[in-house]
Structures are given as structure tokens and as C-alpha cells.
Symmetry: C2
Subunit: 310 residues, 2 copies
């Protein structure tokens, strides 16, 4: 087991926010800058996640951005790009690129247009993905986020996939918002080489206590230092206090449209107004929301200009 | 109004089933054959719809299939390809191709990954799509299908889009399964140059009575003749009886996974076992389902070998 897991991803990853230029296209230079800052806080890069507006990007845009980041020298083994698509050939293209670039893993959504999908059908989807990649370096992290996809990953499906593709089916990002499901996933699979990352740092401590592997959470974009600290010291006496402090910051962002709020914070932190842009159907914060967010963060002594450097 | 609408799409369209070859790729020759058969029944071609497994296809596959059908001489003005994508640049690419090929319209889903989208955000998405195409020939049909997308098209949004882009926002496919919504859409907009197509033929008669423009429904793939007949004769005395007969056929298919059931029927009709293939996460009917479907259709005297030639 330790051999299998020794090169496995772990710790804290951010679904890295995707900056857009004035022309509406993704901005690789701004993205690279944020990635460097996250890595400097020992925060991994789950690019093209939900909070990256990953599904707002075309397949070509995702391939280009990934190639740019790797060429820029960012560590591929700390990357877990989102490669899901309702279209199997697109999921194959993206996942193959992720393997070829040497990324630590691929975060794969189920084919979320198809609410009628059965476990048999989802098994066939993931199985065909694995078979068509046909590469021992492949590490798939199943992306469970039924509040968005309305297509979940059942425990029976995990069991079948793990049995058929041990090592390749490497774990899960669990953004289900249902602790009973998370707890059961951990108890059933955490000791079988299936690495569970919670989808919000608000349950990081509980997840680590039950054998989880870390956390992939929106707010890691703006609060990576403190979240990584809890991950590193979850067995310390002050871990519950750390957890409470994280939860307050999280709640401040979650009171607004999260992606727009985090982009606003990054724009302040970097002194770069262009960071606030989002792609439709998302929208930037309005001036009232912006002022109110800054006030809330200020009350928590969360200094945007030195964002989470603690 | 009559000028605006004279070149508008109307009548009955099928979300044309997409055949796959043994290699799992879409089969343009089989697709062309089904399209010719549908057109011979005066049934239009809503290729790449939900029942076409449109979202299982890559953007490149959709562009290739469309180009093949147009090159094969199928009438572009009877085509309403699905061009929706969660990614705006992909929706732009597909929609531009549809306009360039001279298609009658484009059926556009909202960006369905984003359950948090507001009406303002959806307006921005559709507005940017229209502006970036920048072509007077563009005809957008909004695709309202909240049971699948969980992102609906509100009446307020229709009103804003119609006001801003009259003529370009041409209508809707309403697959909401909520007659109260359909009825209100018709009463609010049917007289304003906004053409409502019901998403199931089970409400075709009621839709036509209230000023609808036709129907785009799964079962048109297997029962086009009879559905077109009701469309053409909805004011005839026997229209209610026609409607009842359509509903029985529809119910027979709807008792099974619809796409697999219709592909099974086409495979029998054309004597071509290869037609049953679906792309994961969908699955073919199992032998029991297959036998049971054929029995039900036989009881209705629905002769698969002469599928809906009546």
C-alpha cells in the first residue's frame, strides 16, 4: 500500500481561478502568477475545476493553458486538472494530455448532462476512459458534486471501479455537501488505496481524522496558507481553533457568489483590477457586494493585500 | 410579422438519433440515411439534440457530421442543430458553423453546468453569443429543458432577449414537462414572433390550438408520419383521436430508456443491428426490454419494418 501511495497526490489543492483578459480569453500569464503564489504556499493546482470556471473553457483553451503552465516550469506532479466532459472523446483527449504532461492526477466529472445515467452506464464511461488512455501513469480522481451535476458517484460504483482498475482509480474529490456520504466513503475505501479529498476545508479536520488525504476547496485560492497549516498540523492541540478560523473566512466568501468574490479578493491582493473578470453566465460582484465583502474580511483581520501569507 | 416569419422554421422536427460505428465513432452514412427517411416524411432535422446524444459528441464530431449532411444534399433550411455548450467559445463555434451552412436555426441550451446562473448571467451568455456571431441570418431557439439542465429559461429572460434581439431570438423548444409554463409562454410570446415548439408530441394538439409552431420530439425519429399528419390536420375533426394514437406509441417507447428503445426500433426498421449502439453513459436495451418493447409495439399494430410509413 505504501508503495502504491508513495507517489500519490495529497494535501491541499486549489481549484485555481481562471483569469480572463479584456478580450474575454483566458490569460495564461495571470494564471501562471496565481499558480506560483499557490505553490509557494504548498498548495497544489486543481486547475479547470468548478471554481476555475473549467466548464466555461473550451477543450482547446484547457489544453493550451495546461501546456503553458507546464512549460512555465510549474510542477506537473502538483497538478490535478479537471478533465471531465459529457463527451467521452473530449474527456479522453484532456485526460491523455494530463498524463502526457506528467500531472499527478486527473479530476474527472461524470458525464453530467445525462441525468438518466445508471451505475452500469457510468461504469462503462469511466472504464472506456481508462482503457482508451491505456497508461499506467493514469490516476483518476472521481469528482462527486451532485449539487451541480445531479449525477453522483455511488459507493457501489466506486467499489466496482476500484476492483477493476486498482491504482488507476486513485480517489475522489467529494463536494457532495453530505457528511454522511463522506464518512461512509472514508470508512469503506480510505484504507484501500482510495484517497478522499474533501471539497470544502470546513470539514478538513474531520476528514483527516477519518483517514482522508486532504482537501480541494474553492477558498484555497484566497486562504491557502492557513488551510495548509491545518492540514500539516491536524493532530495539534489547536487544530479545532484553526478549523473555526478557516470556517469564518470561508463563510465570508460563501455569502457572495463565490467565484466572483474570490476573484475580487485576488484583484485586491495583486493590485490588478483585471482579475475580477468572469465568463458568462457568471457575473462580477456589484459595488455593494464588493464593499460588503471587504468589510467582512476586514472585520476578520483578513488582510487582502497580504492574502493569507500567514 | 408575416414577413419576419415567412422563412421561419415550423412543423415537426426530430432530434435525430446519432448512429455509432463499431469503433465507437459517429457514423455519417447511417445518419444520412435516417435523415433522408425523416425528410421523406416532411420531418425536419434537429440534429445534436438531447435524444441525439448531442452532448456525448465532441465539438469536432458535431462539426464534421453537420458538414457531411449538408454536403450530402440534405436541406439545411430544415435543420436546427443543437449548438449549446457550457463553454461560450464552443457555443460560438458551433452556432457560427450552423449559420454558415445556411441552417434554419440553432437550438441553444443554457450553460447547464452553472446551476448558480442568474437571469442576468444567462442574458449575458446569450447576448455575447448573438453579438459574436454578428449575422442577420442567425435564428436562435432557446432550449428549455430543466429536468435535464436544472437551469431554465424564465419568461422574464425571454422578454429581455426578444426586446434586444428581435428576429434573432426566434423561439423555443419547450421540454419542461410543465404545461402551465408552456401555456404561459404561448400566451405571452406566440404573437410576438417567438415560435414555440413543444418538446413532446403528446401536447402537440394543445400547443397548436394556442398558437404554437410545431413540435420537436424524440419519438419523431420513429413515428414521423403520424406526428406530421396531426401537425398538418390539427383543426380536423379527428385530431383528438390522432393525438390519442400518438400518445400510445409515445408511451410504449417512454416505458424504456428512450434513446436505446428508439435505436432498437430503427435497427429493426432498417434491418441493421448496428443501429442499436449508444455511447456511454447510455446503454442498449437488454434482451428482456427488447422483447417487451417489440411486443408492446406489435399490440399497437405499429409495424417496425414499415416504421410509421402511414
Amino acid at each position: 500500500m505504501s508503495d502504491v501511495q508513495s507517489n500519490r497526490m495529497k494535501g491541499v489543492l486549489a481549484p485555481v481561478l481562471t483569469p480572463f483578459g479584456e478580450d474575454g480569453k483566458p490569460d495564461p500569464v495571470r494564471l501562471e502568477q496565481l499558480c506560483r503564489w499557490l505553490i509557494s504556499h504548498d498548495c497544489g493546482l486543481a486547475i479547470f475545476g468548478t471554481n476555475s470556471e473549467g466548464n466555461s473553457l473550451s477543450i482547446a483553451e484547457r489544453l493550451d493553458l495546461l501546456a503553458h503552465l507546464v512549460a512555465a516550469g510549474l510542477p506537473a506532479d502538483r497538478m490535478m486538472p479537471g478533465t471531465g466532459s459529457c463527451s467521452l472523446p473530449e474527456a479522453v483527449s484532456l485526460t491523455r494530455a494530463v498524463v502526457d504532461h506528467g500531472c499527478g492526477g486527473a479530476l474527472v466529472l461524470p458525464p453530467f448532462y445525462f441525468k438518466i445515467a445508471t451505475d452500469d452506464g457510468l461504469f462503462a464511461f469511466f472504464a472506456e476512459l481508462v482503457e482508451r488512455i491505456g497508461d499506467d501513469r493514469l490516476r483518476i480522481y472521481l469528482y462527486h458534486i451532485p449539487p451541480v451535476t445531479h449525477v453522483g458517484i455511488s459507493h457501489a460504483l466506486i467499489e466496482r471501479l476500484l476492483k477493476r482498475y486498482p491504482g488507476v482509480i486513485a480517489g475522489m474529490k467529494d463536494s457532495g455537501g453530505d457528511w454522511a456520504y463522506t464518512e461512509k466513503t472514508l470508512s469503506l475505501f480510505a484504507s484501500s488505496g482510495f484517497d478522499v479529498f474533501c471539497g470544502t476545508e470546513t470539514i478538513l479536520l474531520e476528514t483527516m481524522r477519518r483517514g482522508g488525504r486532504g482537501c480541494i476547496s474553492a477558498t484555497c485560492n484566497v486562504n491557502p496558507g492557513a488551510i495548509v497549516r491545518l492540514y500539516n498540523t491536524w493532530q495539534a492541540d489547536d487544530a479545532p481553533q484553526q478549523q473555526e478560523a478557516l470556517n469564518l473566512i470561508r463563510a465570508s466568501f460563501a455569502a457572495y457568489p463565490m467565484i466572483a468574490a474570490m476573484k475580487d479578493a485576488v484583484s485586491v491582493a495583486l493590485g490588478d483590477p483585471g482579475w475580477t473578470r468572469v465568463r458568462p453566465p457568471l457575473q462580477e460582484l456589484n459595488p455593494d457586494e464588493r464593499a460588503s465583502l471587504r468589510r467582512r474580511l476586514s472585520e476578520l483581520s483578513f488582510d487582502l493585500r497580504r492574502m493569507s501569507s500567514s
